[in-house]
């Protein structure tokens, strides 16, 4: 280092010579380029940017005569910029490289199993029931429910199922002990109709889902405990056309754009009564040969839906509703049957046994 040049001695400082600066830039650039990682670059920065030839040259400027300072300063500044630019370029490059290396090093095998905490599943009968409810709730119907251990009067008498009706015999109905105590396990969701009509005043539009019981042994097609969903509408001016409209809507919502057909039938709690079939959604539109072998509809092209009809006047009377003022309709359907049809469930036992592999196939969607 030189002392301040107070005597204006026109000494040429070697370090400030353009050649020397150029050499210093070159040396610095080479050193930066040679730095393989950020650690090495830090050392090179110390040697060529923080210290080193250019930094030294800058300190020499102070010793120059004022007339020479400006030019030398400009030269050294340019050299400094060049070195810094080279450094920053290399630093950016090395940083980018390091980031990329980390991403490579952190790579995992995404094909390994991940099921540390598997989710569970809803029961598809419940899901189907909810779906059916929602179809009607969306139209403004409300949901009604009732007890499973039910009075004989609600389950039978009030529904015009008199004491001599075959359904009231021991071979179909679970009776609560003692058998003459007037209590049964409800054989249908229809007692909810009675409870609804006893507690609400028309207009009534309710959908009534629930568990029902019959003394059938469990096999591939029967279960002593199953589920139904029931519609009851009581209003002024309701006709079988409204019944049919409600059924058609339900069928389309559940099974797609299929037609229905209706025919006369008989149920004690409705008069007139009606049976509905709908076109088999599984083979609709297929060739005749395929339709003939369809396992969903048995080759007939039609699927039996369920019974319905206009509420019997006797049922209204038992509930204190004036049958000359109001008309109403009722419709019932088996949830298990809907599930079997829509979701291809072949064996009833799978539905009732609670095997997690059954519900697990559905998750929360039917």
């Amino acid at each position: 280092m030189s002392a301040p040049n107070s005597s204006y001695d026109p000494v040429e400082v070697a370090a400030l010579q353009p050649d020397a600066l150029a050499a210093a830039i070159e040396a610095a650039t080479a050193a930066f380029a040679a730095a393989a990682d950020l650690e090495a670059l830090k050392a090179a920065r110390l040697a060529h940017l923080d210290k080193g030839a250019v930094a030294a040259a800058r300190r020499e400027i102070g010793a120059l005569p004022p007339s020479a300072k400006a030019e030398a300063g400009k030269r050294v500044g340019a050299a400094m910029d060049a070195v810094r630019t080279a450094y920053e370029a290399r630093e950016a490059h090395l940083q980018e490289q390091a980031a990329e290396r980390i991403l490579v090093e952190e790579r995992v095998d995404v094909t390994v199993p991940t099921g540390r905490r598997p989710v569970g599943a809803r029961h598809p009968v419940e899901l189907t029931q909810e779906r059916l409810m929602d179809i009607f709730v969306a139209q403004g119907w409300e949901v009604a429910e009732g007890p499973e251990v039910e009075s004989e009067w609600m389950n039978f008498d009030a529904l015009n199922l008199g004491k001599d009706h075959p359904a009231r015999q021991m071979q179909d109905t679970f009776f609560v002990d003692p058998p003459d105590g007037g209590l049964v396990l409800r054989t249908q969701t229809s007692p909810i109709q009675i409870r609804t009509m006893l507690t609400r005043t028309p207009p009534i539009y309710v959908v009534a889902p629930g568990k029902v019981f019959r003394t059938d042994d469990l096999d591939a097609t029967h279960t002593p405990v199953f589920h139904q969903i029931e519609l009851l509408a009581v209003d002024k001016g309701l006709t079988m056309a409204h019944l049919r409209g409600s059924i058609d809507h339900f069928v389309r919502a559940m099974f797609g754009d299929v037609r229905t057909r209706v025919r006369a039938s008989y149920f004690p709690f409705t008069e007139p009564s009606m049976e509905t079939d709908f076109e088999c959604f599984a083979c609709l539109g297929a060739e005749a040969a395929v339709r003939g072998d369809c396992r969903t509809c048995g080759g007939s092209g039609w699927i039996e839906l369920g019974g319905s009809g206009m509420v019997n006047r006797k049922v209204f009377t038992a509930c204190g509703i004036d049958p000359d003022v109001y008309t109403g309709f009722a419709f019932g359907f088996g949830i298990e049957r809907a599930l079997q049809l829509r979701n291809g469930v072949g064996d009833m036992r799978d539905i009732v046994e609670g095997d997690v592999r059954f519900s697990g196939q559905f998750g929360m969607a039917v």
């Binding site: 199993p113 009968v125 119907w141 009075s151 679970f174 609560v176 025919r263 007139p272 038992a318 609670g354």
Partner: protein, 848 residues
């Protein structure tokens, strides 16, 4: 009801060219559902053949095989070559010259069995000589059909080789099986089905020939067999028998066979031909729907007396079962003494027509449907007769039915009918109903005109008088089901066509959506599924000793369960009082099927009878709404059935895998599931130690809502209970009242304000005696830490050298925050010290 189409065609004009499917469709249109279509599925060539040569050889397998040539007329494949048909046959019951039935290549036999020429036993067989079973004519496969035996010499005399055998054997006749609903008893007859088919075709004039329109019926005479109708105990005021026709035919040849057409029709209808007398009664029943009974006249000693049974009477019925009779049973008796038959159900053995019977008394009676139904059920005896009487038989067909039977016995049995005839007729004519002709349209939604309504009812056989305002309708005698306006409305809709009913969506009043209870159930289920639980639905039936199995104390209210009078299995006669009573069955089944890590839940009702309550419900009448007191007593008799949530956990809750070992489900997991459930409903749950069966006494939490409302229990099940139930060790369970969750959520969840200022965290470790519950300490800290405490949580439990032997150290983290400013450190320390002081005062807690 099985309907042979050829028989139907005798009674009603079938639509031109109508075969089984078309007839079935027509009947479906008027409400007679098709069950099945039998027959009519044979396509030819199926022809008469004459056996020309037989070359018999015993085969290696020991069977005797005949290589035959058969003349099949024009149909032979090689007829042009002058070579008769070569057929290989395994039967040996025929000789050269016999007429047989030959199916030729290209034909299809019942069951879609296609015939082709094929090589068998070394030679090509160009078809097959048929046995009965191969043609669907019967079960017989003992030999092939020899037509001279099968049809009789007379009928087979005119046959030529090559004649079509399909029509010859009636194989072109189809038998339609229809389902008859209980209101249409008259359709248990060809007469009724034919009438319905006629209606399906628009009831064309002359198109229906009523087989009940029989001529030559003698009136009741004093010289007929004496019959007395009595009833000391009518059911619901209806006499057991209101019509009894008795006719006698003498000198019937007991060896006379039923004509083959009659036997064939009985077979087609699903009945077995037995003897002329029996076949005639069955045939007439199928034809007009009137069950008949044939008595051997010589077994009767007195007049026929119809009466109710008396206590202790017995009768051996035709099925050789000795039955003890009930006072409600209606009997046909000999002179009022010995029972001869249970009216309308089954006859007795003593008066049965036998192989030596020559003189026959034919009974054609009308019995009360309820009386017959009860007897049939009481004796578990469903017969063709009881099936019809229960559903209602035409009370005005009796005399015609008896006449049909008499005529057939005379014609085919060589008998002579007595001129004396008995017809005790106590029936009343039907009363007219005043029908509002607008009612069908009002109920059905199709604008039927008054004229259309009247025309349809007349077609149905009703007597209709149109008096301007209402129409006065008297139903025909065979329609006991037509009583009220809607009955007629259904008839109008049915005959006009249900397909004409339009599809119109009703417009309900605006609804309120799902009920809170339903929403809560969905939320609970969704939360649990997200937490890894699978929903199951179990049968609510439990064993008689479930209380012992679960170790419930002898006075535990959960032991008082509703018992079924007729359970499916005597092993499970009770209804569950907790969901986990039956939920454990599903867990055990899954474990037995190899599942190990299980989390199951069920939302369902449990039945909790009220101690000291009889749970006996009145059964009021239905002619008016029961009064409020009666409805209340019905409701009181129905036992409470609250909805519960049950959860069971077994195996690992966090699965093992490449990441390491799994974590077994423990008591805390099941408690946390309940907390999560409550939390998803914006409710908080507190736990305190409890000793409650069937849980582990040291690992059971009584769960309550923040306001103290009891919610249920959760924890690890008692090891002894697990052993008795055969469940995996450490199985955990929870039983929670869903009703409590619903009730707690009845008011909308309210938002509490929260601060956006910085939080100040501080930790405190407290040494307490082992017996002190962490939850209690936590509650004390929370209560004493002042209003700025945001939360406090236990984050470590230490036992060991640094604390005493019967002590533990509980480390809590407390978070403080003020709503309006940043708390100073000294403020936070002050709140913490207050909390610690409270814990020290209450539990002797010492800060470490």
């Amino acid at each position: 009801m099985r309907v042979p189409l050829s028989w139907l065609a005798e009674l009603v004009d079938l639509a031109p060219g109508a075969r089984g499917p078309a007839v079935a469709a027509s009947l479906v249109g008027v409400g007679l559902e098709e069950e099945a279509l039998h027959g009519g599925d044979v396509t030819g060539p199926l022809v008469v053949g004459r056996v020309l040569t037989i070359d018999e050889a015993v085969q290696k397998n020991g069977k005797t095989i005949r290589y035959c040539t058969v003349d099949v007329g024009e149909h032979g494949q090689r007829v042009t070559d002058g070579i008769p048909q070569e057929i290989v046959c395994g039967a040996t019951n025929f000789v050269v010259g016999d007429l047989v039935v030959v199916v030729l290549p290209g034909a299809v036999l019942p069951g879609g069995f296609a015939i082709s020429a094929r090589k068998t036993y070394g030679r090509v067989s160009n078809g097959m000589i048929c046995a009965e079973d191969e043609l669907g004519l019967g079960e017989d496969h003992s030999g092939i059909i020899v037509l001279t035996d099968y049809l009789g010499a007379e009928r087979s005399a005119t046959l030529q080789p090559g004649d079509d055998a399909i029509s010859l054997l009636g194989l072109d006749d189809e038998v339609l099986e229809v389902n008859v609903t209980p209101d249409r008893g008259y359709c248990f007859s060809m007469r009724g089905i034919a009438r319905e088919y006629w209606h399906s075709q628009g009831s064309p004039a002359g198109g229906f020939r009523d087989p009940g329109a029989v001529g030559g019926i003698p009136p009741d005479t004093t010289t007929g067999y004496a019959v007395h109708l009595t009833d000391s105990a009518p059911i619901d005021g209806v006499p057991g028998c209101d019509r009894y026709v008795a006719r006698i035919v003498r000198g019937v040849d007991p060896t006379a066979a039923s004509p083959s057409w009659m036997a064939a029709r009985l077979t087609q209808a699903g009945m077995r031909p037995i003897s002329l007398a029996v076949d005639v009664t069955n045939y007439v029943m199928l034809l007009v729907g009137q069950p008949l009974h044939a008595f051997d006249l010589h077994t009767l000693s007195g007049s026929i007396v119809v009466r109710r049974a008396t206590e202790g009477e017995r009768l051996t019925t035709l099925d050789d079962v000795e039955r003890s009779l009930h006072v409600e049973d209606l009997l046909i008796t000999d002179g009022g003494r010995e029972p001869l038959a249970i009216a309308g159900v089954m006859g007795g053995a003593t008066s049965e027509v036998t192989a030596s019977t020559t003189d026959i008394l034919i009974e054609a009676a009308h019995f009360d449907p309820v009386t017959v139904a009860r007897s049939s059920r009481r004796h578990r005896l469903t017969t063709e007769a009881s099936k019809r009487f229960e559903r209602g038989v035409d009370p005005q067909i009796t005399a015609a039915a008896a006449q049909l039977a008499v005529d057939l016995l005379v014609e085919h049995g060589g008998g002579v009918a007595d001129t004396g005839s008995t017809d005790v007729d106590l029936t009343h004519g039907r009363t007219a109903y005043a029908l509002d002709p607008a009612l069908p349209a009002r109920l059905v939604g199709v604008p039927y005109s008054r004229e259309r309504v009247v025309a349809i009812l007349r077609d149905l056989g009703c007597a209709v008088q149109d008096d301007g305002d209402t129409v006065s309708v008297t139903p025909p005698s065979w329609r006991p089901d037509l009583v009220d306006g809607p009955d007629y409305a259904e008839e109008v809709a049915r005959i006009d066509g249900y397909e004409r009913i339009p599809s119109v969506l009703p417009t309900p009043t605006a609804g309120r959506g799902l009920t809170l209870s339903q929403l809560v159930r969905r939320i609970v289920a969704t939360t649990l599924v997200g937490r890894g639980c699978t929903e199951v639905l179990t049968y609510p039936f439990v064993t008689a000793d479930f209380g012992d199995t679960l170790g419930l104390p002898s006075d535990d209210p959960r032991r008082s369960a509703i018992r079924l009078a007729n359970p499916l299995s005597d092993q499970a006669p009770l209804l569950r009082t907790s969901v986990i009573d039956s939920l454990v069955d599903a867990l055990r089944r899954n474990v037995s099927r190899g599942q190990r890590d299980l989390a199951l839940f069920e939302i369902g009702s449990v039945t909790r009878p009220v101690p000291g309550t009889a749970h006996t419900a009145p059964v009021p009448g239905v002619h008016e709404r029961p009064d409020a007191a009666t409805i209340d007593s019905i409701d009181a008799a129905v036992p409470p059935q609250p909805r519960h949530l049950g959860i069971v956990l077994a195996g690992d809750t966090e699965r093992s895998g490449w990441w390491g070992k799994g974590r077994p489900a423990d008591w805390a997991d099941v408690v946390d599931l309940v907390r999560a459930t409550a939390s998803s409903l914006s409710l908080t749950v507190t736990a305190e130690p409890a000793q409650q069966a069937p849980w582990h006494p040291g690992r059971c939490a009584r769960l309550s809502l923040a306001d103290g409302t009891p919610l249920g229990y959760a924890g690890e099940l008692h090891p002894a209970v697990l052993q008795r139930l055969g469940l995996p060790a450490r199985t955990c369970a929870a039983e929670v009242s869903l009703e409590v969750l619903v009730a707690a959520r009845e008011t909308p969840a309210k938002q509490a304000p929260f601060s956006t200022r910085p939080v100040a965290l501080t930790d405190v470790a407290l040494t307490v005696p082992e017996s002190v519950a962490a939850g209690e300490v936590e509650r004390t800290l929370r209560e004493a830490a002042g209003a700025h405490l945001e939360w406090v949580t236990l984050f470590d439990v230490y036992r060991g050298e640094q604390v005493g032997a019967e002590e533990k150290s509980l480390a809590f983290r407390m978070a403080f925050r003020a709503p309006d400013r940043t708390l100073r450190t000294d403020e936070v320390s002050g709140y913490r010290d207050l909390a610690v002081a409270a814990a020290a005062a209450r539990f002797g807690a010492v800060q470490r």
